[in-house]
């Protein structure tokens, strides 16, 4: 049967070219199931609630049984089968016209032939255990390097194709580096590899990379998509949370090569192991990556329920490639999972302590201030009763259910506890037909750009059939034979001749197999978002090798983080944290890092098994205009000048190779030289532009130029003139005499005594702000003269911390207001007209404030005025235009299509 499956998939491709496969028996899984699944099962499938007219086509006994004297399928007699009569009905065809679905002539022909051949059914391939097939015979016996290649080559030979030659050494080392560690190879490693004539040089390189600490960073990034990892809670307020220790655990787990079964068990149920270690508890953060809703008036149970449902759906997706989530409202329409079975799975996850609480408890205290979210099982007396939710509504409970696994699969292990630990054992049981297949397919897809099963997220009836079924099964059985050793699996794949092929393609080959499903060439895909960024930093020499730790905030455009009810600000991290690998970038669900999202990184709201790759002009904008790309270019240009000596062509070659690894061709060098000349000529006419190109970092990091023109109260006692009674018209004008006003130091206000924390809540550390002048009335007027040290100050901003409304004037011109009520620190850009009045020397800041309706809480106002001092660019040098022209060249190199492509 397996053999036929392989042939079947082959026909999938052949059929476009040559539909003449008349002698071949029609196969249910290959030919018929996709037609029925796409067109019929929604109304005539396993879900009895949506079933129409009592007709069921996914099950032979039902389909061939008699109902009201009619039979949907009469084996051996298509003409007498109601199904055929209806799909060919001239006026009322099935599927109904309004569904927009229609069987093609060819599909109708296939269904007829299948019925005439006796309508044999087969069970869905993915629900049968993988079988280790003997290696197929091949003609080109010199080509295969390992078992993978026999399966690939047999298929190619059947298609009349030949594999591509091995890629050159430069391409191979770049491909291996990008795939295994997510970074480009350093130049020294490239030269060493290219000149390494030892027969096992490739194998040595693979070992070296599998043992690199960056291996864990690369593969953890893949896992974070599945785990819907983020550093915030999601939903409305999307407040920040600390669960990054789990992310670090994943990186270490990959580096330590934790076997996949252990990796699974610790994440799903580490807390249920006897005397779990701290690490085993951290691992359970996997399913604590669900979202928490802080919005006022929400029912905690509603969102606890949403989190549990998400855990069931995510578990089905990640480990078994099945869309269990569909069954929360109704029986699955295509796959064997009833609604009742969904809630039996739900019951495994329904006994944990977390319940959509504001403090995200339970949490584990690590060192000092660091905590991380973990799973903890409820004590026996608090266990919840799980019931089916009718129509998926948690407020509408139906029959009670007990934890169990879907009946269509292998039974739950007899000796396993009916909890998450038992479920984890069932998932990684070697009888599970899907776990190994789904895992190897995922590794394959990240290396080749597409899985052997293209629909990584769906191995069920609606999923795509595997392009190489026998290879998929061989890899799955091999993975289990290797005791779930992930590095060993990766090693096996990258050592194959299939992986080492050149990815260059002739137009004929592209026309024949545009997406390289036949594997007649090597992988060639746009790099993942993280690698696009990391590579740019690495090539220029900016990348920080620092691993682990709290998420960092690299440069991002201003104003991207604006979330309702939130005081959290994006403040660019200092020092090397600006240049960390993308995996350490802060992930906020409602406001993900824009450069990564543009390259198709997910937001962490839902489990993402496969990123859909897009090509958009916004990606071009990111790589062209992200100031970080320019900074990388200027760094790269400086690096080239430092490392490549004085000869023009040596420099050009060096720059090219730092980015693209391979040596350039003459035509490429010529074109780059022309660009250099044009840019140099232009920049020699524009020295200011040249100096900006040379030192972009001095311009783009606003934080580094930030100066407190009027410091806030935290910096010390800043003196103001103030009044609590209406001063009358003109008080905000520079000419106004405030000599009769009182004088006092900020803060102005009062601090109320704090209530003790409520039962079960953690005590918050509270440092009351330094009130220096008492203010307890409703309104307050403030004036202060401030000094601007010199010319070129820009981007004046007011930072006001106040619960109430306020208006601000600078030099008598309206400069800004709270707009609506401010409930915390608010940053207001000084209005352009007011900013235009600010001169070096003395200026006047005037504020009128009105607090929120009386309450017994704190009341205070803290005002600061900041500005960016002009960038301290280095004094001009005679060779500025030349050096800046190199930046332009480097910028182009970083933007080349080949740069963002794995090939």
């Amino acid at each position: 049967m397996r053999r036929r499956l392989a042939l079947g998939a082959a026909c999938l491709f052949l059929s476009c070219v040559n539909p003449g496969v008349a002698e071949e028996p029609v196969r249910y899984n290959r030919d018929i199931r996709p037609i029925l699944s796409k067109n019929c099962f929604a109304c005539h499938g396993p879900d009895e609630h949506s079933r129409q007219a009592g007709v069921r086509l996914d099950d032979r006994a039902y389909a061939t049984g008699e109902k009201g004297g009619l039979r949907a399928i009469v084996p051996g007699n298509s003409a007498a089968s109601r199904a055929v009569i209806r799909i060919t009905h001239p006026r009322r065809p099935m599927p109904p016209v309004e569904t927009g679905k229609k069987l093609s002539e060819r599909e109708i022909e296939l269904v007829k032939r299948w019925i005439d051949q006796g309508a044999p059914y087969e069970s869905h391939w993915a629900f049968e255990p993988p079988v280790r097939h003997p290696l197929p015979r091949v003609r080109q016996t010199a080509w295969p390097r390992n078992e993978i290649d026999y399966f690939v080559l047999a298929r190619l030979e059947a298609e009349g194709l030949r594999p591509s030659p091995e890629a050159d050494r430069y391409t191979l080392i770049r491909r291996l580096y990008l795939d295994l560690v997510g970074l480009p190879p350093p130049m020294a490693a490239v030269d060493a590899f290219v000149n390494d004539t030892r027969p096992d040089s490739y194998e040595r390189l693979v070992e070296e990379l599998l043992n690199s600490p960056h291996y864990g960073e690369r593969w953890a990034a893949v896992w974070l998509d599945l785990a819907r990892y983020a550093d915030s809670k999601g939903y409305e307020a999307d407040r920040l949370r600390s669960i990054w220790p789990w992310r670090d655990w994943v990186i270490r787990a990959f580096n330590d090569n934790l076997p996949y079964d252990r990796f699974t068990t610790l994440q799903l149920a580490g807390d249920l192991l006897p005397e779990p270690s701290q690490d085993q508890l951290i691992a359970t953060g996997f399913h604590r990556n669900t979202m928490t809703n802080d919005e006022g008036g929400t029912d905690d149970e509603e969102f606890r329920d949403a989190a549990v449902k998400d855990r069931v759906a995510t578990t089905g997706q990640v480990w078994m490639g099945l869309t269990w989530g569909c069954a929360q409202c109704h029986n699955h329409k295509y796959d064997p999972l009833s609604q009742r079975e969904f809630y039996q799975l739900y019951a495994f996850f329904n006994q944990t302590e977390d319940s959509d609480q504001f403090d995200d408890r339970p949490r584990l205290k690590l060192d000092g201030r660091t905590t991380t979210l973990i799973m903890r099982e409820l004590p026996p007396e608090q266990r919840r009763q799980t019931r089916v939710h009718q129509r998926g509504n948690f407020l509408d409970p139906g029959d009670p259910v007990e934890p169990d696994v879907p009946a269509a699969f292998h039974p739950f292990p007899d000796d396993a506890p009916r909890n998450r630990l038992g479920l984890a054992r069932w998932l990684v049981d070697k009888r599970n037909p899907l776990t190994a297949r789904v895992a190897v397919n995922r590794f394959w897809a990240r290396l080749f750009g597409a899985g052997l099963v293209e629909t990584e997220e769906d191995f069920g009836n609606q999923g795509a059939p595997p392009s190489h079924p026998e290879l998929l099964d061989w890899l799955a059985t091999e993975f289990m034979r290797l005791d779930w050793d992930m590095k060993a699996l990766l090693r096996t794949i990258v050592l194959s001749a299939a992986y080492r092929q050149s990815s260059d393609a002739t137009p004929e080959l592209i026309e024949r197999d545009r997406f390289n499903r036949l594997l007649a060439r090597g992988p060639r895909v746009r790099l993942e978002a993280e690698i696009v960024r990391d590579q740019m930093l690495a090539a220029s020499g900016l990348l920080s090798p620092k691993m682990y730790g709290p998420p960092v905030m690299p440069l991002q455009p201003e104003g991207v983080w604006q979330v309702v009810y939130s005081r959290d600000r994006w403040e660019t991290s200092p020092g090397e944290d600006r240049y960390r690998r993308a995996i350490y970038t802060f992930r906020r669900r409602t406001s993900p890092y824009p450069a990564l999202v543009t390259f198709d990184a997910p937001s962490g709201e839902i489990c993402t098994l496969r990123r859909v790759r897009t090509n958009t002009p916004l990606q071009a904008l990111v790589n062209l205009n992200d100031p970080l790309a320019l900074e990388a270019a200027s760094h790269l240009a400086a690096r080239v000048a430092r490392e490549a000596g004085g000869r023009f062509e040596d420099r050009l070659r060096h720059a090219f190779r730092l980015v693209l690894i391979r040596p350039p061709q003459q035509a490429e060098l010529d074109r780059l030289a022309k660009l250099y000349e044009e840019a140099r000529a232009k920049l020699s006419r524009d020295p200011l532009a040249a100096s900006k190109l040379l030192e972009p970092a001095k311009i783009i990091y606003a934080e580094d130029r930030l100066e407190a023109i009027v410091p806030g109260a935290a910096a010390g006692a800043v003196e103001w003139r103030f009044r609590q009674a209406d001063p009358g018209a003109g008080w905000e004008q520079p000419g106004y005499d405030d000599g009769h006003w009182e004088q006092g130091a900020a803060l102005f206000g009062r601090i109320a005594p704090k209530k003790p924390p409520k039962e079960g809540e953690e005590e918050l550390v509270y440092n009351p702000p330094p009130v220096r002048t008492s203010w307890d009335s409703e309104r307050l007027w403030l004036r202060r003269v401030f000094e601007v040290p010199g010319d070129g100050y820009e981007n004046f901003r007011l930072r006001v911390e106040f619960r109430g409304s306020f208006e601000v004037w600078i030099n008598g011109v309206h400069a800004g207001s709270s707009g609506e009520e401010s409930a915390g620190p608010l940053e207001v850009k000084v209005a352009p007209l007011a900013a235009a009045t600010i001169r070096p020397g003395r200026n006047l800041l005037a504020i009128a404030a009105r607090r929120t309706a009386a309450g017994d809480g704190d009341q205070y106002i803290d005002v600061a005025l900041t500005a960016l001092r002009p960038p301290a660019l280095s004094p001009p040098r005679p060779d500025d235009a030349e050096r800046a022209a190199w930046v332009a060249v480097a910028h182009v190199l970083l933007n080349l299509d080949e740069t963002v492509t794995k090939r």
């Binding site: 919005e295 002009p617 916004l618």
Partner: protein, 488 residues
């Protein structure tokens, strides 16, 4: 094999055969792009997923401007004239209206609260409008008012998600994303789906309300900003001007071509095209976003002030964008959550201020579109994510000095104009206190089905395969109704 992959594949193959020979023949890039732009077909092209595509049937509306008042404006102060509610003002709310209900803040038994403003009839249609909407009243005969909107979400974030993505949970595609996925966009130099935000904050549900969910990221809304660069990463970085940019792009393009000749990857050509599009977007987007180019009379009509952030400016921008072929413009205006827990959320003190911010620009937008002949094919929609209670909110069980209303999912009002909907028409009705819909209820899925239909897309057939299901904006069941009565 899923439909989508098959379609993309075929499309790409045809595209490749054509474009490959064009480019190798050394013809100009413009022709190469021109091909992509002309390729109108039902399925998106992998080379240019935003190229215009034919709808399922002839559309009434070609573009949409959706004005969302985030926080949920009070229908009882703006559109619903309920004299009966005045009678019950201050009386305790009957128990049967409270039983089994969940409120965000109301506790115990709240009092009924009369509408705070006078209503009058306007236009030939005699549409009831509150005294707070004098400008909207002048275009009353252009509007279709739906008084019978109802939702099942009573919190902002899930309710906004339901209105825009058809699902209260995160991870689904917004209508704008669906529209650009289905129809592409007319102007390749601007994003196809633009989002403009005012009121100082993004909506409660964050960027997910204009997200692409499971659709490719290319269809997500692009937030254009009136401060800083209009589109993220649109401005040239320091030291690079247009001349130097053109010089570097020419080099980039030549080098990419050399690489294409060497390696034969058709994606190289697609990406080469994207760089040219990006270059043109850098030219056109700032121009489109610059309202200072409008004559003073237009600025005056909208109440717009160049350089100042705000809803009026965004309305004018919306007109400039649809005029330039943008498919879907989504405005969010924050600050409509009038709970009455302080002066700034009081129905008497703050609502008039908030309404005044939008009344003039919205009316100007409708009139401006009409005068330019754009209204016929531009669907304008105005509304919030739910309504507000006929009861006065009693946060913490008490009444303070301020007046407001709590979240009310059972009934609210939205209106539409242009784009093939009836003029001067009222649809649906609520009971005499505005608590429940009593006639022609319209759910978010019904509204979405109707919007898609107006755009020429069949809401039942328009789908995207994801996670084993044919995902649709209107959800998996066929309960959503196209409200044919709204369509002219």
């Amino acid at each position: 094999m899923s439909d989508r992959w098959e379609l993309l594949r075929n499309q790409t193959r045809r595209y490749f055969l054509r474009s490959c020979s064009v480019c190798l023949g050394g013809l100009a890039l413009g022709e190469f792009l021109g091909y992509a732009a002309r390729a109108a077909a039902q399925e998106p092209s992998a080379a240019n997923p935003l190229a215009p595509r034919r709808p399922h049937f002839a559309p009434k509306a070609k573009r949409v401007i959706y004005l969302h008042m985030a926080g949920a404006p009070s229908q009882l102060e703006l559109f619903e004239n309920k004299p009966a509610l005045r009678k019950y003002d201050g009386q305790p709310c009957p128990q049967e209206l409270l039983e089994g209900k969940r409120f965000a803040f109301i506790q115990g038994v709240p009092q009924m609260l009369a509408g705070q403003y006078e209503f009058r009839r306007h236009g030939e249609s005699g549409l009831w409008l509150s005294e707070l909407l004098p400008h909207l009243a002048t275009v009353a005969d252009e509007l279709t008012v739906i008084r019978s909107m109802t939702t099942d979400q009573f919190n902002h974030a899930p309710a906004q998600l339901l209105m825009h993505t058809g699902n209260q949970r995160l991870g689904y595609a917004s209508i704008g994303a669906w529209a650009t996925y289905g129809l592409g966009t007319e102007n390749q130099n601007l994003p196809g789906f633009v989002v403009l935000v005012s009121g100082g904050k993004t909506p409660d549900a964050g960027k997910s309300v204009w997200g692409s969910g499971f659709l490719p990221a290319v269809y997500q809304g692009v937030q254009c900003r009136s401060e800083g660069e209009p589109v993220l990463y649109l401005n040239d970085p320091p030291g690079i001007d247009r001349e130097l940019r053109r010089t570097t792009l020419d080099a980039l393009s030549d080098l990419n071509r050399l690489q294409y000749e060497q390696f034969g990857d058709p994606d190289t050509l697609a990406r080469l095209g994207q760089y040219e599009l990006a270059f043109r977007m850098q030219m056109e987007a700032p121009e489109a976003m610059d309202i200072s180019r409008e004559p003073p009379a237009v600025l005056e009509a909208y109440g717009a002030h160049p350089g100042k952030m705000g809803f009026a400016n965004n309305c004018l921008l919306a007109r400039r964008l649809v005029e330039r072929g943008v498919r879907y413009v989504q405005l969010f205006d924050w600050g409509w959550d009038h709970h009455g827990n302080n002066e700034r959320t009081d129905l008497r003190y703050d609502l008039p201020r908030k309404v005044a911010e939008i009344d003039r620009p919205v009316a100007a937008l409708v009139r401006d579109l009409r005068e330019r002949g754009l209204l016929e094919e531009t669907l304008v929609i105005w509304g919030g994510e739910f309504g507000r209670t006929p009861m006065r909110e009693n946060r913490g069980g008490n009444y303070g000095p301020y007046i407001g209303r709590d979240h009310h999912p059972h009934a609210f009002t939205i209106w539409m104009a242009g784009g093939g909907v009836k003029r001067g028409f009222v649809y649906g009705a609520t009971d005499d206190i505005g608590y429940y819909v009593v006639e022609n209820p319209v759910r978010p899925h019904d509204l979405q089905a109707t919007i898609l239909t107006l755009l020429g897309l069949d809401p039942y057939k328009f789908r995207y395969p994801f996670q084993g299901l044919d995902q649709r904006l209107i959800g998996p069941t066929d309960e959503a109704k196209v409200i044919r009565d709204l369509i002219a």
